[in-house]
């Protein structure tokens, strides 16, 4: 298939997934704050810090108040990773490959975009939590419609690859929010407040109920193990990597476990490392440091996908 088309479908899915995860991202913080004792200072800056765009935010908004942060991450169309910008980009990508995707997919992206655009005009700060639920649901609808209406061909697998790479990265960042939030109050580790925070975090990845089915107690180690290493929960990092690798091998036609290009090697290496990593190893290294490294590798995987499939060098 055309490189440009593959690129568009890959990004279409990344942007839709990114919009969903920004919603989860903000939602986890809203939940955490509601469970915090009265008088605790609201912590919104960590959210921006984990996006890596703190300088940009401060330059434009100054103080990290709830309103500013939510505006920035949700409706600021000049910030390329805001929900509304993601939807704009998703729609542009979808439009350029309309003859490849199903018309139902195009309609879904359109509906999703209009939902966010209309919300941006009314700025529903009082009802922001419902808005984030709608965003998550629209993203699920898109993924479902794509799964159920588009041939699972090479193009579909590029989409899937994009979605899984994006989701793995964002699950890592959501975990990182907890790290930044905890930092100023180390003495709280292990208290009921700490446990509430871990529950909120699980909920924001839709993982709370699924977690309970395999682990009874909420311990930081088990939660991290669940969100990083679980092979069956669809938002855990390892699950995403397994799916991404599966799609990758569909695309290349190469056998799993063997690599023929830099993407297969980088992704396969990361996935097999996690196969044999224990939670103890992660905590002894430090969760934040571990996540940081993961995010770097995800970036590397993305660049290699780009070089291998989208940016054909003509000699």
């Amino acid at each position: 298939m055309l490189s440009r088309v593959a690129n568009s479908i890959y990004w279409l899915n990344r942007y839709v997934e990114r919009a969903e995860n920004v919603a989860r991202f903000v939602d986890v913080n809203l939940n955490l704050l509601m469970d915090s004792p009265m008088g605790t200072a609201q912590q919104w800056e960590p959210l921006i810090r984990t996006t890596g765009d703190l300088a940009l935010f401060q330059e434009r908004y100054g103080d990290a108040t709830a309103d500013n942060v939510i505006q920035f991450l949700t409706f600021d169309s000049s910030y390329p990773n805001s929900i509304i910008s993601c939807l704009q980009s998703a729609r542009e990508n979808a439009r350029s490959v309309r003859e490849i995707i199903s018309s139902e997919m195009w309609e879904r992206v359109n509906a999703f975009y209009f939902l966010v655009r209309d919300a941006s005009k009314t700025s529903p700060m009082t009802n922001i939590s419902n808005f984030f639920s709608d965003v998550k649901m629209e993203s699920h609808l898109f993924a479902g419609v794509m799964d159920g209406t588009m041939t699972h061909n090479e193009a579909w697998h590029f989409g899937q690859l994009g979605r899984m790479v994006e989701r793995a990265d964002k699950t890592a960042r959501i975990l990182d929010v907890k790290y930044f939030i905890l930092l100023p109050s180390v003495k709280d580790v292990g208290t009921p407040l700490d446990e509430l925070q871990w529950i909120s975090l699980l909920k924001s990845t839709s993982g709370y109920e699924m977690y309970r089915k395999c682990q009874h107690r909420i311990t930081p180690q088990d939660v991290v193990q669940f969100l990083v290493l679980d092979r069956e929960f669809p938002r855990s990092i390892q699950f995403c990597l397994l799916q991404a690798e599966r799609s990758l091998h569909h695309i290349t036609g190469g056998a799993p476990g063997i690599w023929h290009n830099p993407v297969e090697r980088t992704l396969g290496k990361l996935r097999s490392e996690l196969d044999y990593t224990t939670i103890e190893e992660i905590t002894s290294q430090g969760l934040h440091e571990f996540l940081d490294q993961l995010e770097d590798t995800f970036n590397d995987v993305h660049h290699k996908i780009h070089e291998t499939f989208f940016e054909l060098k003509v000699v």
Partner: protein
């Protein structure tokens, strides 16, 4: 809804002979519409419009940053062409395309028509669409104009004329297909009662036309549709045709010339392209051959084409035939190349570069329509009877300054079709653009895009000037009633 008070007036009406007297062949449609209330009719109109929007039959508006898509206003009262009329039009269009194609082969080849004194050389060489780099090129099967949309009109007396030839990248065929799809759900009963020729085989015919250009030795040639990109006003159509034919839709940046062939960049490396249905203008095709600032084309494409290693549809250089001065010579071309009389006449045309014609035009500016020879889309035009003395004065100056660039024609009173305007049916002026494919044989799609001037009394059907569209029903030879 009743046609009782519909008055065709002093015009040629496509559906009515006179007030209260529909043409016999369209009776089932009129009966059906008469049986509906105005609200039912309006609902169907609305439903059709919504269906078109959902199908995505949109065109882009360049200046609009919000949404950027619009749907062409669609009217549900179809335009109907009788079987005998169509049989004659089909023959006439085939004749015209055959002659124009021979003309293109000739002027980029031996130029016999110039040497034999039929068309003056300076008329050809001064035409904007004439491309010297194409001289000596021999496109596959000798075909230059694979896809043509010819604009037809009817005057007050019902006489058909060819108004314009469009041999470059005529657009609008997606409306023909989508409008028909919508109309089948709007008037299903009428489709059962009237013998309406289907239009749906157009994409299949188009693909055959394109495959016909690949070298016969290739078992599985690669055909692509080439678009300027998603912001082009006809992007929907490009995407639609690629989808209907099951071929890739490519942009210039997807293509590259490598190893002497045109290739597209795929996830599995370069892949050779054999036939390009290109929907961008000649001058943008190849920055090394034409406009050096073109970002839309492919460097080196013309070389590959010249060597016969890729086919382009339409071939570059066909624009010379769209020149309105060249148009005036088509009757002579038909005679010269085919030894026949032209079937569908041209609109009588005065050539301003000829002194006698120019004198007449300047005398009669208030009665004539003056057109720039190389413009389309209703630009660079003077409608004499509707113009102010100042406007006429300005055109007179322009004509004298550059007579080669202007032609004039009598103002035609275009035929009309009843159209739903608000709560009433009113007669609106129409034209017709059928689509003609030149493959192994010449094929005329039985239908076409009927453009309608929705502004009261307006004679201008262009979509930029308040025009809309209608489905065109071509009737098959009479079916016996059962």
């Amino acid at each position: 809804m009743k046609f009782d008070d519909y008055d065709p007036g002093d015009f040629y009406d496509e559906l009515f002979l006179a007030k209260g007297q529909p043409r016999p062949e369209v009776a089932p449609l009129i009966e059906r519409i008469n049986s509906l209330s105005i609200n039912e009719l309006k609902q169907r109109q609305q439903a059709a419009q919504t269906a078109l929007l959902q199908l995505g039959a949109t065109f882009n508006v360049y200046s609009d940053t919000q949404g950027t898509e619009r749907v062409l206003p669609f009217d549900i009262i179809p335009r109907i062409v009788s079987a005998p009329d169509w049989a004659w039009l089909e023959r006439g269009l085939k004749q015209r395309i055959e002659a124009l194609n021979l003309f293109l082969s000739d002027i980029y080849g031996e130029q016999k028509i110039i040497k034999d004194g039929i068309i003056p050389e300076e008329i050809i060489t001064s035409s904007k669409g004439f491309l010297p780099p194409c001289i000596g090129i021999q496109p596959p099967q000798g075909i230059w104009c694979h896809i043509t949309g010819t604009d037809l009109v009817r005057d007050r007396d019902g006489q058909w004329y060819v108004l314009e030839d469009n041999l470059r990248c005529p657009s609008g065929v997606s409306y023909v297909l989508e409008n028909r799809r919508v109309m089948k759900t709007t008037f299903p009963i009428v489709f059962n009662r009237m013998a309406i020729m289907p239009v749906d085989d157009y994409p299949g015919q188009l693909l055959e036309t394109l495959l016909n250009l690949a070298p016969p030795s290739l078992p599985d040639p690669t055909v692509v549709v080439m678009t300027p990109g998603q912001y082009n006003s006809a992007y929907f159509e490009h995407s639609f045709l690629a989808q209907q034919m099951g071929v890739e839709l490519v942009e210039g940046r997807d293509l590259v010339v490598a190893d002497g062939y045109l290739q597209m960049k795929t996830t599995k490396g370069l892949k050779r392209v054999d036939v390009v249905y290109r929907r961008l203008d000649d001058e943008f095709l190849d920055p090394t051959a034409f406009r050096p600032d073109s970002m839309l084309g492919v460097a080196g494409l013309m070389d590959v084409f010249r060597k016969g290693r890729v086919a382009l549809a339409n071939a570059p250089g066909t624009g010379v035939a769209d020149d309105k001065v060249i148009y005036a010579y088509v009757p002579k071309m038909v005679k010269y190349y085919l030894g026949e009389e032209q079937l569908i006449p041209n609109v009588p045309t005065y050539l301003c570069w000829e002194p006698t014609d120019q004198a007449y035009v300047l005398e009669n500016l208030d009665k004539l329509v003056v057109k720039a020879a190389n413009e389309s889309g209703g630009y660079g035009m003077l409608v004499g009877p509707h113009a102010t003395p100042e406007e006429r004065e300005e055109f007179a100056t322009r004509i004298c300054a550059a007579p080669r660039n202007y032609i004039a024609q009598p103002t035609l009173i275009l035929s009309r079709v009843p159209t739903l305007i608000g709560d009433r049916l009113e007669g609106c002026h129409v034209d017709l653009r059928p689509y003609i494919l030149y493959g192994k044989e010449i094929y005329v799609n039985p239908g076409g895009f009927t453009r309608v001037a929705l502004r009261r009394g307006s004679l201008v059907v262009n979509s930029s000037q308040g025009g809309g569209g209608k489905d065109t029903w071509v009737l098959a030879e009479e079916r016996s009633e059962e």
